[in-house]
């Protein structure tokens, strides 16, 4: 994989990607709080909630209390109420998105505030031209069917509203815990995993990197409404730090013991270490990762951060696309907006890497912040990307094409059935992301 090495990349500084992390609802607030307490600087943190009491205890920079008149500082109680409250106070949410390029939205789906407010916030942010990456948890099975259903509904809305969703099903965490583990412990674990992942994501998009992976790479990996992304981060120090890191990554419940990787279509690996980070280590690590995900297109980035000292930090984002979804397809406006004619999947859907191609009409949808480069550098970068071996090389279209025909055949003469921005003619299991192995 030939990638340009930007050895003298200027520090991202004030011109870099401006990231804002927002925790929405109780779970989101706790996760962000956990992040703050574990010593996390450089990225502004904020919380949005309807519960005044929880917000009062929060130590975050920005706290936004929604619907104080309606709920008198209690929780919203119902996702619809949450949504209505958020719709009524969009100005406050819009303020949160000013001067931001990327909004990392942390939310626990299933409850009232998170499920209701998060899709609205995502929409507001996107209308303001901000890229929205949602990191959402799904409730534990023990929380009951209703919460699960609410979470699924909210997830669908969130997928429509945001540019990408990374999903962490809480239930997966249960396997990690000991038999007698308490609920607090489980939630603590979830928060910890979330915080690790967020930290990794922020590092990925804000730091310069020796072998650069940046925001547009991340977008390329996670975008697509029907895709399912997984996220894991781990760090280790000492002699066998490569081995330890890989072990920890594989232990992450969100990677499903590495199974998620073997099915992934594209994987982004970001490696960061102290000055002692050696090529050999990177190679060892990438060997392992490549072996795990043979099918996938792997994008790798590495960075040396003196602050890390002896530690090695690896962040991994993988995406598994549904069979019906051609690789690299981008959710177009038509995909998102109800009432527009069926989405045409671009065969070569790399538009996301070229900020100029979309034009004003697309601006609302997918605007990766333009890399702050001189024009000639930009051209060079484009060329570099154009030359890069594309995922199309894996002949994905060969089996995509006939399947797409099967899917439309019966209904091609009639108008598509649209419901809340989804095309119901597409098989449910594909839209819901159910994997048939």
């Amino acid at each position: 994989m030939s990638r340009e090495v930007f050895s003298n990349q200027p520090d991202s500084g004030p011109n870099g990607t401006r990231v804002q992390i927002v925790g929405v609802g109780g779970a989101g607030l706790h996760a962000v709080e956990h992040l703050a307490q574990s010593g996390f600087a450089g990225v502004p943190l904020a919380a949005v909630h309807t519960d005044a009491r929880l917000l009062a205890q929060s130590s975050l920079g920005t706290n936004i209390l929604l619907g104080s008149r309606l709920t008198r500082g209690l929780k919203a109680g119902d996702p619809d109420v949450g949504r209505a409250i958020a719709e009524g106070e969009t100005e406050q949410l819009a303020e949160l998105c000013s001067d931001v390029d990327l909004l990392l939205l942390v939310v626990g789906l299933g409850g009232s505030t998170g499920s209701g407010v998060a899709p609205v916030l995502a929409r507001v942010a996107r209308e303001a031209g901000v890229l929205v990456l949602a990191v959402a948890t799904l409730p534990f099975d023990l929380e009951g069917r209703r919460r699960g259903e609410q979470a699924q509904i909210a997830l669908r809305e969130l997928r429509t509203a945001s540019d990408a969703v990374i999903l962490l099903p809480n239930q997966q965490v249960v396997r990690l815990l000991e038999e007698g583990a308490g609920l607090t412990e489980a939630l603590e674990k979830v928060n910890e995993l979330l915080a690790d992942g967020l930290r990794g994501l922020c590092r990925l998009v804000t730091q310069a990197g020796l072998i650069k992976v940046d925001f547009s790479d991340l977008c390329e990996v996670v975008r697509g409404r029907h895709s399912e992304s997984c996220l894991a981060a781990a760090e280790a120090a000492g002699e066998d730090r490569v081995k330890a890191v890989v072990e920890r990554l594989l232990n992450s419940p969100f990677l499903d013991h590495g199974n998620a990787l073997s099915e992934a279509e594209s994987v982004l690996v970001s490696i960061a270490g102290g000055p002692g980070l050696s090529l050999k280590e990177i190679q060892q690590l990438m060997d392992q990762v490549n072996r795990l995900c043979e099918q996938a297109q792997v994008v790798m980035g590495a960075d040396v951060d003196p602050g890390l000292g002896d530690r090695l930090v690896v962040t991994l984002v993988g995406t598994h696309r549904r069979q019906g979804e051609p690789a690299g397809s981008e959710p177009t406006e038509a995909d998102v907006e109800p009432g527009l004619p069926g989405a045409e999947f671009p065969v070569d859907g790399r538009a996301g890497a070229e900020p100029t191609s979309g034009g004003a009409a697309r601006a609302r949808h997918f605007v990766p912040p333009a890399p702050q480069l001189a024009p000639e550098e930009k051209v060079k970068l484009m060329e570099q990307r154009g030359l890069r071996p594309k995922r199309g090389k894996r002949a994905g279209t060969q089996f995509m094409l006939p399947l797409e025909v099967v899917s439309k055949e019966r209904f091609e003469q009639s108008e598509p059935t649209r419901y809340r921005g989804e095309d119901l003619d597409t098989p449910t299991f594909i839209r819901r992301g159910v994997r048939l192995n």
Partner: protein, 409 residues
Amino acid sequence: MMLKPSHHVIVGLEIGTTKICAVVGRLQAEGVLNVVGVGQCRSRGVRKGEIVDFKAATEDIRRALAEAEDMANLEIKSVFLGVTGAHVAGFNNRGRVHLPHGEREITESDVQEVVRNARTLNLPAGRDVLHLIRQHFIVDGRSGVTKPVEMEGEQLELDVHVVHGMTSRLQLPIKAARSLQIDVEEVVFNGIASSLAVLSNQEKDLGALVIDLGAGVTEYAVYSERVVKHTGVIAVGGDHVTNDLAYGLKVPMSRAEALKIEHGSALMAPEVRGRTLRLPSETGLPDRTVNLEHLHRIMSLRLEETFQIIAEDLERTGLLDYLRAGVVLCGGGSRVPGIHRLAERVFGLPASTGRTRAISGLVATLDQPEFATGIGLVRFGSFHLGRTRRNTGLASRIARTLGGIFQTS
């Protein structure tokens, strides 16, 4: 052959996505409805409940009607035509009349005025009212009044349920019937027709949800306190299930259809985990196997989603709590094993298959969920005949509203 005059003959014609069905009923002197003929034909020109191939559809209608004529031994001159499609929608409207001179008795003319007001609708251009169904009168805020005449009050209101659809798309099936020299007496929304066929008066009173799981579309209607409270259509049906299976299991549509009918299930049972089905080879290719678990999962996801969309809609209207008689399923989709348990789970209400009631004649042939719409159309027709004699009833009002459609077609 001497054909008898079709005086009290009522014919319901359903132009469905998989079959076109004509049901011939005879209204006997004592008001008993007797079904004397059924004609069916495989439908080729219909998708999602709407005609897409006019020529094929007309041909199929002709065959179905001819078969029904043969069986009933009469000539069909007019039909009650069932229509459906994603464009059909229902909503509730309220008309209001202020009685100017303080408290006085409400008269028949006040009632007519309130009916007129309730019919004043803000429909988008190009849409026509299909049904306008009286729900209840409200006198000075007191709801649930059925006969307001001679009551005293200052304000009279009327709630109606309005079913409307796009004029251009409603005209197509009418045109198809006309082209066969068949008169259309009335255009009826299929969802209302099937609910008429399967609900007893008691169920209408208690409150029931009827879901007609067709091949092209799924229609639903909610009854409570004996009146239609809500109707709706989702352009998702059995075809979608078949399509999902063809797509997910990588088999042709015909094979998917057969698999759905023979091995389908609306629920995932734990015992199918890992089980496979061997498919006999068709063209000398090696035998294929299909994972039964996948088959069930694909089906259950689709059916559950369809129910969930309906449940969401009902939740919005707040009607879910009024369905004391539960959910009644009809249409071909109600034959899927486990569909009742799925409906019970999604709606939290008991579910059953609708039986076509209060109809005599070819009972054995007709007591199948697929015929609910056809029989319902005949029932609708019998009400229509009964009421036009008095000429003040519901159907004649609808006929007037629909006049526009008939003239232009």
